[in-house]
Symmetry: D4
Subunit: 255 residues, 8 copies
């Protein structure tokens, strides 16, 4: 029973005021226009509910995935092991597993297309994190342009890709070890850069801390950082920015 | 002597190939279309060169500011002490000092307007950092909407502002201590959130580390983090996103 | 206009349903019974609004204090410098400053009495933090029993106070350096212990980290820890527990 | 032979002073009223001796458990592996193993009932720690009310449970990643909150440090923190508070 | 009234058993043979009560010092500022202040002589910490042999002093920066080495952490480490060892 | 099409200026004399492209190795597991695996000889890292002189090797635990010392942090540090220095 | 050719002075009385060469052990796995493996007896580290008195053992988690205390850091700390102190 | 009495062998050719003894400086305050103070010239550290080529200086904040790079830790790192390498 129904009942005298107040107090906040938006967000925007599989049993994962599909939503599962996929696969035979990105995807309907996002890595070992970002971008309607292994140890590789980088609306820079990639790109382009530090490295990289600190301390401006190895978070932020841009483009068309 | 002049001279036989090659090798990269963009960025985009005053003498600061104004550019100085301003004020009597944000601004020409950005703080002690973000946003053409002291210890304050937050294109969330503000906002809105941890607090906040880690580990997606107390960086990233949105709106209009 | 008034108007046909919905969406959550509780909490419970003075100007502090008193509430200001007090003193001549605890207090009405709480310190240098806890306890209606300088380096001092410790309903243990006081007390009593690590010490105490880690790793159970030097937080938690105990005692009386 | 017996014997001339002094010097401190309390605590209060199984062999664990049962005490073993349980099961066939919480329990007699305690988690991956708290609460006579997966990324889930949270006497908040749950709850309720940070997360969560620091730095007051992943400690502190409340209720009844 | 007096009174019928029990409960534990040792330790052993002046007011410091002297004890105050000394000097005109070591000393009676202890430093900047150790040693009856500035950057300086080092019973090695001195000495001598890391250095020495870690990780055996800059602790441990040696020498004489 | 070809075409009128400008903008920077140098570096200098195998699949590793050999370059693979070698061995049957150093090497042509470099370790457990340095040195044309297990716990072992150390042009000092080896050597010789901290140790060595901090804080001058366990980096830097020395020797010969 | 032979040859005119100088420069320092002492230390003092097995192959371990026995020395191997023992056992069938302490021992001749040392632990999980200390003490001629599981959570257990603790010449205190044991003992006894922090615990104990910091920051004086889990180091230091005491006792006898 | 005198006396029969052995045992090692080299190092190589002024009194500093000049050596004082210089200036009126680098220099004789070294900084705030390196280089005979403010935020500035960088024999890269400068340069040149992290920055730079970690984790090879803000150490290492190169050039000339 939602807000309007309650108000109608009060209006029509079918529900006393006291009872209405009780309802309103215990009603899910979503029904007040607040949680409903939240609840309906995925359907409206084509942004699927995301399942963070690590720490969930394969059975839990499969149940959530089946639920989402029943509700007509796309599925994106991150940090999924093979065992998570096997369970999902049984209930959703068309689900796809990406071994490199450790993602499970299942598409009910094509998401609204939001344009290209460049996804760069410093080295080859950063690719799994970058792929998590790329798969997330695809799931959210963006088209990832992969620019892998353009780290600063051989900076000409990066400079050679400058045209591609400059034509992108948003750039996701994934790098471990010294993590300088994001700062160098940030100094070369005029678009928002999403920086994803990775735990790639050894010794004094302290599980990605070195790359994280590099990115936080970069002198280049216009860079937003996410957690270490958080390819999903990097892709999501880039998609969020892309969606804003797409919304504004649409708004411009109507003007 | 720029690239085209060199090529023209080669074409006209006024310059032998060998000499041209020498020129091209030593020519500033900017002249190859690469650094020139960089050099002209501020004029084209209305994004001023920013002077990070900390670690510069007042004299250096004033000289740079005067230079920028001579070149017709706006001036934004951050982390400026009163002594920096006094020096700038002597050469630019119309320069303005913001004591709270520690910024120096001088406007030669109005920047292109890029729309509203919400700037929130968890507490009152976070306001200086938020003001640095707000002044930066203004300098870059955005209109900051200040929502201060809406931290999660009294979450209804934040919920009361939900309409304002939801209507903003970009949100800058500035918070110290536990730093949960950005994550709570990120769970409530569908727009990019720029999170600025501050060093406000004591004890186990370790100079802002607690707020930084909270923001990096947030379960909410769509959040980009900048360095501790980096109000400038937060404002700049938000402006960068706003400019992309404005560009796309303009592009939409032309379609 | 609160929830009941809106529902009454709808019921009486004085307000159409659509307008009611608009009202309900924009109404402060407090009006739904949610924030109002929050807003009225201090008056109902005798727990004053607390002003964290650090990071506030003296003027801001004085304005908030005056406001609270106008609303009939007691005032407790923590981390207050002499300059904060001077400003408050001008508007509230009866306000009291505790130089050791750095607190400002002003009592409009006696708070409900909640019983005794033992406040212990390991050494004499921990006393300012303990006093902040003690003043907070007093402001919230508890009676602090001070047991200072009973640290474990001479454990007989602590054992001598065992009777006092065992008769307390709640114990606040304030200690820096090695911070073992809370664990030793926790092993000797059967009541909740609130542990407050302090930054007292030097060298490898890393600003109170050593005491904090000691307390977190204690083998004794029944200990809740607050932030380093957070005497206020320690006193508040102890008062919160005391109030629960007082409420239950009152409930018992009615049974 | 206890203190009174010795003094009586001295008084009656049955024991010379020298011999009494020897006795008093070597007498266990418990006999002076000190350790005896400690020794008898479990029987009197229904709080079982707790076996921390990690770092004990299965044989040691089983021997201690059998000993406790022989003494008529309940058994609670935490951090127990399957191998610990197998050994206990052989000597106590009615012992119960909770695979999620990693606890072994065996009940000789029902503990004194201490009332309800809410146990909340931010996410599903925090549930094992929360279950350790819940099983501990049950073993100590409390009734845990489980409110799982109400983290702040979707804050309406938490707000929907506000009535339950507000009716609880004590709340245990278990959360990893950003760990903001405890602070948000603390800002909404007027009861003691026990915060248990968990090591759930990755990257810059540094084994639970991020959640721990968030909780220590929370702006909300009335929160006591325990060690990372220390569900037992969180449950024990909540039970300790509940027992104080129950004692006071009983005291009230007698008044 | 001590234990024997109480027992005598009970024996003689001058004190009823109940009253005796009350006495025994509140009597300082020292009277049971436990705290008395503690209380009398300084007088018996010539080890003075030590006043840690940091965090005490000059008045408190002077009062404690006067008290000790009234009880016939020597005075050693560490971490004493000039203001502490001025207050002590007013009540004890013969007290001596060591500006380098920041100590206050006042000798009532010569302590028992315990022999020589070598006190070494890596550099000249470590001398204040070494002097705190040396003054402590003197106050406790040892004769410090100062070997300053023999750090490993010029290892021949250390090797030149090998005879002195090898003839010492105990060695206190004080070093900052890389802190390798203790390990090198430990590899060359066959006596206990007390290692005192100092905060001397800059950059990645992190307030003495580098020297502390070096000493903890030394491959040389027979080294006991104290807190950073804790010259007092280093001197005290060396004196403790020296006293054991002196006791055993005396015991040998009697054999 | 390289720079000269473009300029020739412009000169000969075969290419219009506009088209030449387009070419120059998109031309790889290497063709401007910048990246080409980079690309040809290995062939010219005999320094092989190095494959960091960790994080690469065996197939990727083998493909890169085969490519390098096809281009006539030597192969050095570091952090190689047995599985990497097996894949390389299939395509390059003469490749050699060093189980201790975890390196794969394949020599197409002898590198230019650069002279001797001393490689020292503090203990035997540091040898794998030292061997990585030694194999790297060999691959780059240096002759490693191995001086293992000369740590400072028995400093005479090191002093016995002083002649060898003093005759070396460059010294690589590999040490874990306290890591004092580099500083002691630096105080004894007049040549550049490359310090490689290792993660050998336990407890408070924190994965090599203790050795790293020791080396960074050494009082001895003339020491350059590389990452923890980075034998390759240490060897490479020593070879870089050796090559400079060899170049200068050659230059001297020509003078 | 040793020092005396050289001097004899010079004296007899069989060796010119210049040649003697060359010899003396390259002569092992041991031959100058310096390293020889070192070399002979074990035999003279009964302190065996200790083999740190971790990081050595079983073969290396066995070879060193055999060598030592051939030279008539006792063998003590620490951090030895079963595989190390198996290899040693083949060459030394009478060697003994302690599974709890992970030590290998082989006794050629009884070491000089140095007296009793108390070895205490806070809990049962600390016992392996304590056993490493105890076995080390035995190997060096001390008699360890084991006092296990007397941690401060039930402080009466410790107080009950006060007589034993007070009669010991040296005390080794082994404790993890909060690590307060050493400080409490240090406050109760007048003898040197060797503190060994252990990595026992979880969450915010950070691999033993919490216990280490507690011990470093203890207010009790007379405590020397060794590395985390370094039972060997703790035992060695206690033996070193005991030997000094024994030497002095012997010296006393001769007086 | 030095080694030769002793041997002569033995040879001439003026000293018995036993007495000679005693002498040799106690003789400073320097007299055995070991420490003398050390002692004479400065004179022979033109490398002055360096005075680290921080932690020394002005008087101590002046005395050492005067001593060095008396011995005919050049003086270099680092981390010198104005007060140090004032004291030195009184005894050495020609001494020079560099306010930016905080150095004192006094030249007795021109050092041997060792060639050019490039000294680069990322920003202007790094210049004081770079100047310390430059002054050190000058004092040791090198000619510093200053390339300041070429950080990677505007990478074309660095690329414009590539010719200068490539022609340098050694490069000192000084950078704070993200500290990526060293890695980018290391990827572009084929010469040894000395990396000096600085503490320039704020927030999560943690006193230079961010720049230090970046440099340690750089993917570029051939880079040696020194302590944070250690301009002297960076300059010294670069000079050490330059001297080796100069020695080899001279050796080449003689071939």
């Amino acid at each position: 029973m939602d807000l309007k129904a309650i108000l109608d009942a009060v209006h029509d005298g079918d529900m006393p005021v006291d009872q209405a107040m009780e309802h309103l107090k215990t009603l899910p906040y979503g029904n007040l226009g607040f949680a409903r938006v939240d609840h309906h967000r995925a359907l409206r925007q084509g942004f699927p509910e995301v399942i963070f599989c690590a720490g969930k049993t394969p059975e839990q994962t499969a149940a959530i995935a089946a639920d989402l599909v029943k509700a007509g939503q796309n599925v994106l599962g991150t940090r999924a092991g093979k065992e998570h996929f096997d369970a999902v696969h049984q209930v959703l035979p068309d689900a796809i597993y990406n071994e490199c990105a450790h993602t499970i995807t299942y598409v009910c309907h094509q998401p609204r297309q939001l344009g290209e996002v460049a996804v760069c890595t410093g080295g080859t070992a950063d690719i799994p994190v970058a792929e998590e970002a790329a798969i997330t971008l695809e799931a959210l309607g963006c088209t990832p342009i992969r620019l892998y292994d353009i780290g600063i140890a051989g900076i000409h590789r990066l400079l050679d890709k400058l045209d591609v980088l400059r034509s992108a609306k948003v750039i996701v820079a994934v790098a471990g070890m010294e993590g300088a990639l994001a700062g160098v790109i940030g100094g070369l382009v005029d678009r928002p850069v999403v920086a994803v530090p990775t735990s790639v490295g050894y010794g004094a990289n302290f599980g990605g801390l070195s790359a994280l600190l590099t990115m936080l301390n970069t002198c280049a401006a216009g860079i937003g950082i996410v957690n270490i190895d958080n390819g999903f978070g990097g892709g999501y932020l880039a998609a969020q920015i892309s969606r804003l841009a797409a919304d504004m483009q649409q708004k411009g068309k109507k003007e």
